[in-house]
């Protein structure tokens, strides 16, 4: 049995915080507070990356997720009406079964990790960013270009989706039937 080293202590603390914030994202009634907890959750995940020796990805995590995605979520909440907190289906059915399924999943992964081979001890903590750069722009160059293609398609699709709203600002105050009339006039702008 290993002694409780500093890394293990940090891991236990950060993982407890991570699970705590992940639970709060779901169970918090106020949506804006849930986004704040999402930010905390993403930052604790970045701390976990640091603990596992992926410093570059921790920075990317904070920049992309905590900097970009969270702002997108806040804008989306401000542009839509906030809803009441409700649970789908019946409550009694939803209490026991998912918890049981989750515990079963934890058990299966624990057993398979215990039975399987131990990972090699050559786990290293100091991966230079240059090695990542060589992998990204050398061996995985095709994947990198496909990522660019995916991002381009996403930007194009997002602008196309939102541009219909910009062209028809009256749609903000319209009912469903009026929007359908507008769509029929324009030969289906949304399709």
């Amino acid at each position: 049995m290993q002694a409780l080293s500093l890394e293990l202590f940090l891991f236990l603390g950060i993982s407890t915080l991570t699970v705590f914030f992940a639970g709060l994202i779901i169970w918090e009634k106020n949506q804006v507070r849930a986004i704040i907890f999402l930010t905390f959750f993403l930052i604790t995940i970045a701390g976990m990356y640091l603990l596992l020796g992926a410093q570059y990805l921790a920075i990317v995590q904070i920049m992309v997720y905590a900097g970009g995605v969270v702002v997108l979520f806040i804008f989306a909440i401000h542009l839509t009406r906030s809803e009441e907190f409700r649970v789908r289906g019946s409550i009694n059915q939803l209490r026991s079964l998912p918890i049981f399924a989750g515990l079963l999943l934890v058990l299966v992964v624990a057993l398979s990790a215990l039975i399987g081979t131990e990972p090699s001890p050559n786990a290293t903590l100091d991966v230079p960013v240059s090695e990542l750069g060589y992998l990204l722009f050398g061996q995985q160059l095709v994947s990198f270009f496909f990522m660019g293609l995916i991002l381009f398609a996403t930007i194009f699709a997002t602008i196309y989706l939102v541009s219909w709203l910009i062209e028809h600002p009256v749609a903000y105050e319209m009912g469903e039937e009026e929007i359908e009339e507008l769509l029929n006039e324009n030969n289906g702008g949304l399709e």
Partner: protein, 111 residues
């Protein structure tokens, strides 16, 4: 801090599974579209944690350890960001059309 990782890989995998379970539970029970997208983010972060863990602990055999897992986690973060932006744009369009983002009420697939 030593050069090697002192955390057993089992603990990291446990954390990842717990996060996956929490995210899947939220995805199945919440009916707000934005809340469901947040739960998808939790699930994707659990997957990224697995990538990083296996990248850090290296290959099973005596092969040369690479940090390829970090590169794939990087790709996963890019795809997650694209998914979030596109999903939120879709939710905006859905909200303008239906005046709600409750998933239960968006049940007919018309233009």
């Amino acid at each position: 801090m030593s050069e090697f990782v002192n955390i057993p890989i089992l603990w990291v995998l446990m954390l990842s599974v717990v996060l996956l379970a929490i995210g899947a539970y939220g995805l199945m029970t919440r009916k707000n579209g934005i809340r469901m997208l947040m739960c998808i983010e939790i699930i994707l972060n659990a997957a990224n944690l697995n990538f990083i863990a296996f990248s850090t602990y290296g290959p099973l055999s005596g092969a040369v350890p690479t940090s390829l897992g970090q590169v794939f986690a990087f790709f996963s973060i890019v795809v997650a960001a694209a998914e979030a932006s596109l999903g939120l744009a879709l939710l905006l369009v859905v909200y303008r059309h239906y005046k709600t983002i409750s998933i239960d009420k968006i049940d007919h697939l018309r233009g």
